[in-house]
Symmetry: C2
Subunit: 336 residues, 2 copies
Amino acid sequence: MAEESFKEYGKEEAISLLYEGSGFVRAENPSFEPSPGSEVISSCRLFVEGIDFDLIYFPLKHLGYKCVCAAAGEIYASMAHPRTLMLRLGVSSKLDFSHIRELWSGAVAAAREHGFKTVDLDLVPSPNGLTISVSAGGERLKLTKGRTVKARSKDLVCVSGSLGAAYLGQQVLEREKRNFDKMEDDKVQPDLEKYKMLIGSYLKPEIPAAAVSRLEDSGIYPSHGYLVSHGLSDTLKRLVRDSGLGVKVYADKIPFEGNSFAFGKEMDIDPISAAMNGGDDFRLLFTIPILSAEKFRRDFQTFEIIGHLAQPEVGAVLVTPDGVELPVKAQGWNNE
Amino acid sequence: MAEESFKEYGKEEAISLLYEGSGFVRAENPSFEPSPGSEVISSCRLFVEGIDFDLIYFPLKHLGYKCVCAAAGEIYASMAHPRTLMLRLGVSSKLDFSHIRELWSGAVAAAREHGFKTVDLDLVPSPNGLTISVSAGGERLKLTKGRTVKARSKDLVCVSGSLGAAYLGQQVLEREKRNFDKMEDDKVQPDLEKYKMLIGSYLKPEIPAAAVSRLEDSGIYPSHGYLVSHGLSDTLKRLVRDSGLGVKVYADKIPFEGNSFAFGKEMDIDPISAAMNGGDDFRLLFTIPILSAEKFRRDFQTFEIIGHLAQPEVGAVLVTPDGVELPVKAQGWNNE
């Protein structure tokens, strides 16, 4: 990576250089005019070095991409369309301008993919590690608001892709980092090919950009929506809280990446536990009226139905293949 | 301060406790429905410990208050009304729950004062110091959009209060911190009474919450608006960039707190330089059509007219009392 000093540029100059060729025009305090009757939805995520990412193995371009996906995912979870994006980087002195360029290029790619109209970037100095704040504004159309009905106790719980893989992928990278630290002279490039899918799930999660439009086109309006990004348990707890209902999820319905179980065995990590308590899967989870089930199965084949809402007294439970109902536990402060 | 351990609570429990009695209901990904034809305005600010504040002398309650004022101020600068607020705290292990309570109480006070309808709080762990991300969503009314005209070269530059005081106040606190470090046994409480106004400007800036409504009522629509929070020079540079015009500001029109010059002499800091390059004043700066001047002077007596727009070739200049025009310099990366 070229050593292009960050301090060479004034902040304004640095930001102008980043916008060049990005396809976005700089806009401070960005604005948009929603269509009549729309609701405005906002989301914000804060990513902290050493907690949410480790720059030893997290490429900056992927990091920029992933942070924007998180904010976009929250907008989609609210059945809204992305409009404005604000990116604030707390830049540590370890990083030079070329690093910021990398991060920004990933952010811009995600912003384009998710249809943001405006991206507002600001840089501030940070004494301790990189900090990334990503805020998004979106628009939930009038029709969606009108058609969304209250959750009922048999609504289906659907998820946009495999779970647990991101956590397993992160564990692969953590293991390689430890191995690398231990090695001294004869460094061997580790063979990560077989874990490619898992690592990809962690480093470059994908959010289905068209999901909201396709749901609108299908006339299917979820009663609740979430971005699964701190484990399925966390999401189910929030669903119970927000719906006032219970939820049952079936372990054998949870979708997994191909080699999750093989790798889980190797690392002594239960993939189901990774799905429930691991983080960073970046999947959309919707609850769908049971009357839409057939249409949903036909039109949304990449989504999996993993369970259903239930009476409030059920709480949040995971049903094992032999029918045992395990209560879903809340996460502690540091377990996210 | 009570030692109430933060780790005792799960994150969800901690957040629920904070909302109790706050007057706000928790809302993740907050929404609002703008009135027809309104524009949605967003703002976001990231505050980093060790750069934007020093917890040695910055009370957490004031810090929470100030961060929310920054986001609200950006909304007002866009002639919009605050609606939704998102607060993300990267909480270091040095802080316990009672500290977060303090910070939150200040944030809630500012959110109420500035008319936010919804406040969305999230807590994430931070390995290195406290980080605060504040994002706001607001609404610029249809009428405002329709009545705002392009800036012209004689528009007046108006500012909502004194400048430079926050920087001077911060210097008082920095000096006391150094003195305190030097003292050993016989610690004497420093007499800060005479610097109360300056310190207050830094620790508890005030943004006129009614300014936008009052401008609407007066039918005065600024061509440009800014929150002055990184020195007047920075704001004037942005004004030149955004308007495509020049700007002249008169040193003897800049409003100062009472004892700015006395204290500036004592500390060997030129108050004019503090106003131009110091930060954190949190004043609104608007450019007003010259035809509104008389009405503006009458209706907005707390605002001061400090200069006017000019032909583009003028650039940004500060006019000294003896008529010398000094070009306003851009700020470097670390001088903000």
